[in-house]
Symmetry: C2
Subunit: 433 residues, 2 copies
């Protein structure tokens, strides 16, 4: 065990704490820094070495993991007075695991050189998977770096990720962040879709438990739905596991990049606006599953109904069709964006189907969308039932005066493609195919 | 005066009461019906003859105006037991002035024939202009009917409308409702744009009075902005002049028709969803100018700031650019939809520029969009400043976490057109041009 190198770590939030303590459990001496003192005490109790300053936490550490919340925080932590760079020894490897714009990650590499610290091996390595997998060392990691940096630093990425979930993305620094970004297109949209579908179901008089039962395992399934719906049903929002503000930050990175690159992200933009309205309502620090409160203040698991089996089935189908329509358009939006920023689509597929952005629809239809995006043609048909089903869901929502931000956004896209939407015409709304 | 025919009238709401009492003032004997008794008393006080049933109100009336709120109410009023048709004499002229789907208006004509009342001259004649113009007899009226029905019934439309604001739309019954519908695309979007722009301005720290001063008379002007902003500044929402539920009903007609015809209406769909969220917040019966409360609970006219003139100008420009971007896309959405439903575009232009759907942008750019939609080519350029300005507004809104539902919807459309949006590419998102 003593052969394992000492690690510096900053940003001991829900994810960072799990990652750092996992490294401790794996036998590394980890020196950690966080601005919030109670976390440092907890970290010490878990076997870590708390540090009172960033530069101290980096002193003599050949490997340093930065897991702060935002690019701005990373900038201050790395380059600020008394920051990481002041302590980091020559030839150290620095991992930036925060979700940041790819342009920012590339900016860090450039600034290191400009400051005469071209000796630092820099790895752009955002992560995904949540606090539990962070603590288990089974995260998904999307990494971009020079070959030399990977040679030095790959072992630590392997420590923190599951064997099949370390994605080394071609393209150097920035490619990891871009992969994370296009994954988060799905994550952000799917998270809102969970609340929108439960909210719609509540307006239809369906009990949330019935909804979960109908969706999980069906074509309407998404990883987010299965994961978040547990908290939706128990109203476990305070704080729950993942705050609205976290996914909102990611949505902001996505839409900012869209504006920068002149790339349309209609569903993700809608999602971001609804998140803002959630923050306005005070839901920002709460679990994102709590966004269902934009639709109903009653617990969705307490709703009683006496529908016939047939009626209930018809209503549940509306909810499932809503999700299917959203997931289909989200798949198109994320894949077209991935193509635009140069992400290898096959690798993205491999990542998504096993990650938080996954859905049954993505699994099935991304395999058809990717050849179209790569100019190889192939099956481009969209089942008519998807289009009809989404239309009916939107119509019924109108009848019960239920806002369906994403449902209408997805339907607008399908309607833009003409009378008989195809995967090709849908993708063609984003990019030339 | 005695030569003027007796008129039957039902639906004495804000608009209907004004229309009916205007006819009374013009020397007609008007027999009116409404389900709400206090209104009937008021009507009697204004010189009308109240009636206690629909069939009585129609008895011996050669001309009958139906101004109820919805198609469902019209159906019950006209065809229900004890309804208008039971009283209406042979060869009477029946005006349906409610805003209804064109398909419904056509259905009335058909049902009249099916019920053996092909003798009734039916005029599809929705109106626009608000309660004050209703009472002045200076409404805009969009009328579709057979030549024979117009010959019989045109005089009464002239009584209720301003001389230049009676639009006889080619296409028979349904054409009037379609014209109203495409006009309401603009009205619905512009109404929400008023609140969105004031809400954004409030987040930027601008006082509402400064905003109104900057917008009215500028390129960001809309009829709705000038009209609604008076009530926004005085918080005159209870009930104000036009409830959210009224424009929401129109938005519902529009988006339902879009689904029926497979025509995309992304901005109007977004608008409808935000209206639903306003209804959820309890704002439905309040004036639609009160939707600004989705953004801020403080009175926008009480906001204090100490910005430099330069800073203030820059912030006001963001708000104006937001409106310009929305108005441009709303113009495209309404005109493309009008083409799709067969509305004569030149006539629509004439109507809109003098009506509640008007905007400075519509006035200038519709003249360029119409030739493109008619396949005649022409100037298709969009000032780069519109695109840049909208992007900057959306970026700043993201910085201050302010939802811009329409701003982002419009930007998504412009981004869909590629790097350099043109009017042609914008219209091409809706229809082949």
């Amino acid at each position: 065990m003593s052969s394992k190198p000492a690690i510096g770590f900053c940003g001991l939030g829900a994810m960072g704490f799990g990652m750092a303590t996992h490294l401790v459990k794996s036998g590394y001496a980890v020196t950690g820094f966080d601005v919030w003192a109670p976390t440092l005490e907890k970290f010490a109790a878990a076997g870590g070495t708390p540090s009172s300053s960033l530069s101290d936490s980096a002193k003599d550490k050949a490997f340093y993991v930065c897991m702060v919340a935002t690019a701005q925080q990373a900038q201050d932590a790395i380059f600020g007075a008394g920051g990481i760079l002041e302590g980091l020894p020559n030839g150290a490897t620095l991992y930036l695991c925060s979700t940041v714009p790819s342009a920012y990650a590339q900016g860090v590499e450039k600034e290191l050189k400009e400051r005469g610290r071209g000796d630092v091996y820099f790895v752009d390595a955002p992560v995904s998977g949540g606090a539990i997998r962070a603590a288990d060392g089974t995260l998904s990691i999307m990494a971009g770096a020079s070959d030399a940096a990977f040679e030095k630093g790959r072992f630590l990425l392997e420590e923190m990720s599951a064997p099949s979930k370390l994605f080394v993305v071609k393209g150097g620094v920035g490619a990891g962040s871009n992969m994370k970004m296009v994954h988060q297109v799905l994550a952000a949209i799917h998270i809102l879709a969970v609340s929108e579908s439960f909210g719609f179901a509540a307006r239809l008089g369906l009990n949330g438990k019935e909804v979960r039962e109908a969706v999980v395992g069906s074509q309407a399934w998404s990883w987010m739905f299965e994961n978040r719906s547990v908290r939706t049903l128990s109203e476990d929002y305070f704080p729950g596991a993942s705050a609205v503000t976290i996914v909102l930050k990611d949505a902001g990175i996505i839409t900012s990049m869209g504006r920068l690159l002149n790339f349309p992200l209609p569903l993700c933009s809608i999602t971001e606006q609804v998140y803002f309205s959630g923050v306005d309502r005070g839901f920002g620090p709460n679990d994102d599953a709590g966004l269902v409160r934009l639709w109903t203040s009653d617990p969705v698991s307490s709703i009683q109904n006496s529908f016939s089996e047939e009626d209930k089935k018809a209503k549940l189908k509306l909810v499932a069709d809503l999700l299917i329509g959203i997931h289909l358009c989200a798949a198109a939006e994320s894949l077209a964006f991935a193509k635009h920023v140069g992400i290898p689509l096959a690798q993205m597929y491999e990542l998504v189907v096993e990650a938080a952005g996954g859905s049954a629809i993505f699994k099935e239809y991304a395999t058809k969308m990717i050849p179209i995006l790569e100019g190889k043609g192939g099956d481009t048909s969209v089942p008519e039932s998807f289009f009809d089903g989404l239309k009916k869901a939107v119509q019924e929502a109108q009848n019960v005066k239920c806002p369906l931000y994403l449902g209408n956004g997805a339907l607008s896209l399908l309607l833009q493609t003409g009378k008989a939407p195809s995967l090709k015409s849908l993708l063609g709304l984003y990019t030339s195919v």
